[in-house]
Amino acid sequence: MIYEIVVGDKTYKLTLQKRDGRWVYELDNLEVTVDALAVRPDVLSILVGAKVYEIQRERQGGEIWIWLGGVRHRVEVSDPRLLRGQKRGSSGEKGPVKIAAPMPGKVVRVLVVDGSEVEKGQGVIVIEAMKMQNEIKSHKKGTVRKLSATVGAAVNAGDVLAIVE
């Protein structure tokens, strides 16, 4: 199996195959045998030579995170044969920026109106969840458009509450 794997700012091309019950990988034209054991779902015990690694995986809304030693790393795994030609989307801060609810909760205050000018970092909406009030800030300087948040409304994580242009 061949994968293209992005970890931080590095991209690896990884060839993996199973030989005698062990995984053999080839990375940058070097081949290594590793002993990888799934000790439970999403947890691997890996031996590279005698060196022990315990690694956890988390998947959240299409994102993959790999944990090692309590540190979390975002990874992207793609099979280049299947995904050839696909590009990873990126959202810069040039165009309109969405203001989305970072968690489920209730809108307790709306600090702007449609058309308000906001600075980068300025609070726009206050959401209460788990007894904490959290100010959602604008990530860019601009004008508030399509403000849909109303006081008292329940929101879900990812709901777009306004757009800053």
Binding site: Y12, Y25, V48, G49
Partner: protein, 501 residues
């Protein structure tokens, strides 16, 4: 002794209380909202009763429903835990009226201490040192401005009914006063149903040190030593320890004696905590009394060798304190980390959701009080505290090392938690040196913000990610299997060596 105790709470504290009941041979009754049917405290109890819909106001805060259930199931006592009804004098009084013992102080003591302004008035009478300011609620902005001018800026506005940083505002200059007062009042109204706000002189970056007291219902009151709780974020405690790195035996005795005087002035019975602000000259000022069991009680239990919940139950059953002040010995050191469901990479927003993987630490010097399990979904309706991880040892350094080791073993997958924060704190030189104050954590967070991510392990991370994916497609039978590639043995060896130097 009681035969059956109803636990009017949820989460880790409900589980901790149920455990104590079982240790004492007492049946434990859980109550739950619709969001908590699957919660750990329900699973651990002997009996469980539904309270109502998820919002606390319709479930855990419903005095009549809780009392009806207590009577119906034949409970002879109620333990309220912390939060919810624990400091509600009306509830304590209602319990007494129906003959169910409230495990805590009397309604009268609670009322005296529950309102911070009333507590200040009473402490003033008892000659307890407290932070300068008003002992009564503010009536107008003008009055606030006048008082603030007199005691000098910066000042702190605080909700009389407050706690946990709600209804609290720091004001640096007269221009900010009006807005801050309105914000504090409206937050106080929302959080506590009481908009009364008072002024205190702000002691900038004080330490927050609190003293545990224990009193029986026969007039015996002792103190069990202090807890250092200066590591806070948004006025919420994050790490607590006992003893405090700066409190010596003499200071402990002075603080303890003041704390006992406070408790006596309030006719206090059962477990309580007197909070002090401590300035850089080690002067301490009475701040408030918490008339309940504290979240951070385990650190005191560990260094005193006492079980505070057992003692609470025995005191409520009418027993006299089984020990005297001279019997209380502080031994070793304990540090607690509050594990919250929140996202450190997103301004510590709450992060409810399903726990897909849970690996918990164990071993010497570790105590874990949790309310979670793998496969459980953390509801959005309540406080995000998941568990309390306590490390202890013969001294502070050993307790710290054990906590660090335990944090490496701890993994909560599926939701975000603040475990990474504790790694930063425990390895920080200022923490190691015990240089703490309530501004400590904000400074540390600023300093560590934007620190470059660690790339040293990216190769093994990539390999693991690939193996996870390959195992999955192997299971699903969808793998793309390339022809065997022949690679020389020396290159294989070179790679293996590179990964384990």
């Amino acid at each position: 002794m009681f035969k059956k105790i109803l636990i009017a709470n949820r989460g880790e504290i409900a589980v901790r209380l149920i455990r104590a009941c079982h240790e004492l041979g007492i049946a434990a009754v859980a109550v739950y909202s619709d969001a908590d049917r699957a919660a750990l405290h329900v699973r651990k109890a002997d009996e469980a009763y539904r309270l109502g819909p998820p919002p606390a106001g319709e479930s855990y805060l419903k005095i009549e429903t809780v009392l009806d259930l207590a009577k119906k199931c034949g409970a002879d006592a109620i333990h309220p835990g912390y939060g919810f009804l624990s400091e509600n004098a009306k509830f304590a009084r209602a319990c007494a009226a129906v003959g169910v013992k409230f495990i805590g102080p009397s309604a009268a003591s609670m009322e005296m201490m529950g309102s911070k302004t009333r507590a200040r008035q009473n402490m003033e009478k008892a000659g307890i040192p407290f932070v300068p300011g008003t002992s009564r609620g503010l009536e107008s902005v003008d009055q606030a401005a006048e008082v603030a001018e007199k005691i000098g800026y910066p000042i702190m506005l605080k909700a009389a009914a407050g706690g946990g940083g709600k209804g609290m505002r720091l004001v640096h200059a007269p221009g900010e006063l009006k807005g801050a007062l309105e914000a504090a009042q409206s937050e106080a109204q929302r959080s506590f149903g009481d908009r009364e706000v008072y002024i205190e002189k702000a002691i900038l970056n004080p330490r927050h040190i609190e003293m545990q007291v224990l009193a029986d219902e026969h007039g015996n009151t002792i103190y069990l030593g202090e807890r250092e709780c200066s590591i806070q974020r948004r006025h919420q405690k994050v790490v607590e320890e006992a003893p405090s790195p700066i409190v010596d035996a003499d200071m402990r005795q002075r603080m303890g004696e003041v704390a006992v005087r406070v408790a006596r002035a309030a006719n206090y019975a059962n477990a309580g905590t007197i909070e002090f602000l401590v300035d850089d000259q080690k002067n301490f000022y009475f701040l408030e009394m918490n008339t309940r069991l504290q979240v951070e009680h385990p650190v005191t239990e560990i260094v005193t060798g006492l079980d505070l919940v057992h003692l609470q139950i025995r005191i409520a059953a009418g027993e006299t304190l089984p020990l005297k002040q001279a019997d209380v010995q502080i031994r070793g050191h304990a540090i607690e980390c509050r594990i919250y469901a929140e996202d450190p990479e997103n301004n510590y927003f709450p992060s409810p959701g399903k726990i897909t993987t849970l690996m918990e630490p164990a071993g010497p010097g570790i105590r874990l009080d949790g309310g979670i399990y793998e496969g459980w979904t953390v509801p959005i309706d309540y406080d995000p505290l998941l568990a309390k991880l306590v490390g202890y040892g013969e001294n502070r350094a050993q307790a710290t090392m054990r906590l660090q080791r335990a944090l490496e073993e701890y993994f909560v997958g599926g939701i975000k938690t603040n475990t990474g924060l504790f790694r930063s704190i425990l390895s920080d030189p200022n923490f190691r040196a015990g240089r703490l104050d309530t501004g400590y954590l904000e400074r540390l967070l600023k300093q560590t913000a934007g620190t470059a991510t660690d790339n040293t392990n990216s190769e093994i991370i990539a390999i693991a990610a690939g193996i996870f994916a390959a195992m999955e497609s192997e299971k699903a039978g969808t793998g793309n299997s390339p022809e065997e590639s022949a690679i020389s043995a020396w290159r294989k060896a070179a790679r293996t060596e590179a990964l384990h130097p």
